[in-house]
């Protein structure tokens, strides 16, 4: 029998939830105010009047802000697909193919995952310039894949290790090669692992800042976090547009997180607890 949650628990939960949600709620409220409402002192707590004019403005007047979101989608989806493919195969090799030195390889992959992105920039930027990779979706997709691949390998390898190995052995005796075992047995059986890993990688890619900032120098190629961050320009901060664009840019992430909270939670903590 568990100890019953007391009043103190509920009070703490309520306070934590309020603190967690408040900035997001405030952001959304801000995006629903008119310009006078945003720049008023004391601040308006409730939009007066309620208006969608900021959203209408973004959808009609600033196509570049929507373009950023589309770019983020393209890069995020591409990076997730590439990461799951390469990471799935590597994870399978490390978990199952009894590769010699697999422990050493795993440790190496884990340690490179800690490289600070800024340390890559001087050289990566120059290489991308030389290869003509700057301002290309493929370039940023590959760069993000490199950044998040170690994490995916680790997560997927831990997931594969939980599958009963006999099914793969039966497939081996039935006559499948390892690639076929991977695509037609392991992948379908570990879709929860792929879903969790894929969601987290997508969120990582969507949120990634330094590489996206440096490797996409054309305004039209920028991802949402970078584009919105640079939107203010040098002097004025048009908060009504920024807050509204931010809401649009985070909604996909928050919706994904809300729907798949269990999978994401499970994926984030896999392999760290024990």
């Amino acid at each position: 029998m568990e100890r019953r949650a007391g009043k103190g628990t509920y009070i703490t939960v309520v306070i934590s939830v309020v603190i967690s949600f408040f900035p997001i709620v405030w952001l959304i409220l801000t995006s629903l105010k008119n310009t006078a409402g945003i720049y008023s002192w004391p601040p308006q707590y409730w939009p007066d009047p309620f208006t969608l004019e900021n959203y209408i403005y973004i959808f009609t007047e600033t196509p570049e802000l929507l373009r950023y979101v589309v770019n983020s989608f393209i890069v995020g989806v591409g990076c997730t697909a590439l990461t799951l493919t390469a990471g799935g195969m590597a994870g399978y090799a490390l978990a199952r193919l009894r590769l010699r030195f697999s422990t050493g390889l795993m440790l190496m992959i884990l340690s490179v995952s800690m490289f600070p992105p800024i340390a890559l920039l001087p050289s990566l930027f120059q290489s991308f310039v030389n290869l003509g990779f700057l301002n290309s979706y493929l370039g940023l997709i590959v760069a993000h894949t490199g950044l998040f691949l170690p994490y995916a390998v680790f997560m997927l390898a831990s997931y594969f290790a939980t599958l009963p190995v006999e099914i793969e052995e039966a497939a081996q005796i039935d006559g499948m090669g390892f690639l076929q075992i991977f695509t037609s047995i392991v992948a379908p059986l570990s879709w929860p692992g792929f879903v969790a890993t894929g969601l987290i990688i997508f969120i990582f890619s969507w949120n990634e800042f330094p590489l996206a900032l440096v490797l996409m120098t054309q305004d039209a190629m920028r991802t949402a976090p970078v584009g919105i961050s640079l939107y203010p320009g040098e002097f004025a901060f048009p908060w009504e547009t920024i807050s509204t664009a931010t809401v649009i840019a985070i909604i996909p992430i928050l919706v994904i997180t809300a729907i798949f909270q269990k999978q994401i939670l499970g994926g984030l903590t896999a392999g760290t607890g024990k």
Binding site: P164, E166, I167, E169, A170, A171, Q172, I173, D174, G175, M176, I185, P188, L189
Partner: protein, 361 residues
């Protein structure tokens, strides 16, 4: 002609030998059981034959072809796993048909073969179901069916009945016997359950610590265990062992049990010996029976009724002996009785290496 021939087979994992110097010929149609405690190397041996594990030493021949460098699919083997290993996302039909599909067998031929086998093992009604909707026994039948469909040269079984409950296990054991009688395919069967081994096997290979302890028919390993390990492993409850030292006249145990000369064994110059008697081979005599050289007075310490049988824990001059008697009528705890250790039912083993001493003709 041997169907399967294993020559000096060995497997090392990081320097420790899991299986060593395994030599065995398995005849066409033979049902061979690998028996031993966990960690004895029996599963590793089976997995080397399957090709799931590479062998570190030796050779594997199947139907006069060297196979140990071949992939599992080319070895002509089919395997039944302990936890069934069915593809959970495929139907029973697809599970059974997988190997044939991969061999590019024509569709209608696959269809016919799978349906025939399903008919034979009573799975016709389940072909479109997914494994998760089946009971444990049904799943294991699918796993067996999948193996049959392939018409392999050799069946490999890795503890196939261990996950079933006791009742079902007996039923499946009998089904397997019938199946073998009907198909006559060479089979290698790994188990730690001696009842399965005794009932199914043409020959049993008993393994200990990665090496073969004895190969023989069920009768041979029971009647003439080659060493103390086999003697203790086969039979339930286990054989009684008494350590004896040579005395002035005859032999004497660490306690005070005295035995006459063991002239029915060829003991050579041994001065110590382990005497073995199975619980079911110790005779309990009425107290008024006249004594001879092999009768002893004993006290019943504890009597346990198992059902048809009863087990008596006896104290015989400081030695503890377990006796199995008929369960309908047996002495109670505390009673004094007489027992007899018939010489023709005794076994003697070398204390240093456990080898059985030969019986004198």
């Amino acid at each position: 002609m041997a169907q399967v021939s294993l020559r000096n087979l060995g497997k090392s994992f990081g320097g420790t030998m899991a299986v060593e110097a395994f030599d065995l010929d398995i005849a066409d149609g033979e049902f061979l059981v690998l028996l031993g405690p966990s960690g004895c190397g029996k599963s590793t041996t089976l997995r080397m034959v399957a090709g799931l594990e590479s062998n570190s030493t030796g050779e594997i021949w199947i139907k006069d072809k060297r196979m140990d460098h071949e992939e599992p699919k080319n070895r002509g083997v089919a395997m039944v796993f302990q936890n069934y290993a069915l593809y959970p996302h495929k139907t029973v039909f697809d599970n059974m048909a997988m190997a044939l599909k991969l061999q590019k067998v024509p569709k209608d031929e696959i269809e016919k073969k799978v349906r025939d086998v399903a008919e034979m093992i009573g799975l016709s009604d389940f072909l479109e179901r997914k494994p998760a909707t089946l009971s444990g026994g049904q799943r294991q039948r699918v796993a067996i069916g999948r193996a049959i469909v392939r018409t392999p040269d050799v069946f490999l079984f890795d503890e196939p009945l261990s996950n079933l409950d006791a009742k079902l296990r007996v039923k499946m054991r009998m089904d397997l016997q019938q199946l073998h009688a009907r198909l006559g395919v060479t089979s290698i069967y790994v188990t730690h359950d001696q009842v399965e081994a005794m009932t199914l096997a043409d020959r049993i290979v008993i393994m200990e610590g990665g090496v073969i302890a004895q190969v023989g028919t069920p009768r041979e390993v029971y009647d003439e265990p080659a060493n103390a390990f086999v003697a203790g492993f086969i039979g339930s409850p286990a054989m009684n062992f008494i350590k004896l030292n040579r005395a002035e006249k005859g032999w004497r145990s660490e306690g005070a049990l005295e035995l006459p000369e063991l002239n029915h064994f060829d003991l050579g110059s041994a001065s110590t010996v382990t005497l073995g008697v199975r619980p079911e081979h110790i005779e309990v005599l009425p107290p008024e029976t006249p004594a001879d050289a092999w009768t002893y007075d004993a006290e019943v310490m504890l009597a346990e009724l198992l059902g048809a049988d009863a087990l008596l824990n006896l104290s015989v001059k400081g030695e503890e002996l377990l006796v199995r008697v008929n369960g309908t009528e047996y002495p109670d705890g505390g009673e004094k009785i007489k027992i007899r250790l018939a010489p023709e039912r005794q076994h003697a083993f070398d204390i240093s290496n456990g080898t059985a001493f030969p019986r004198r003709a």
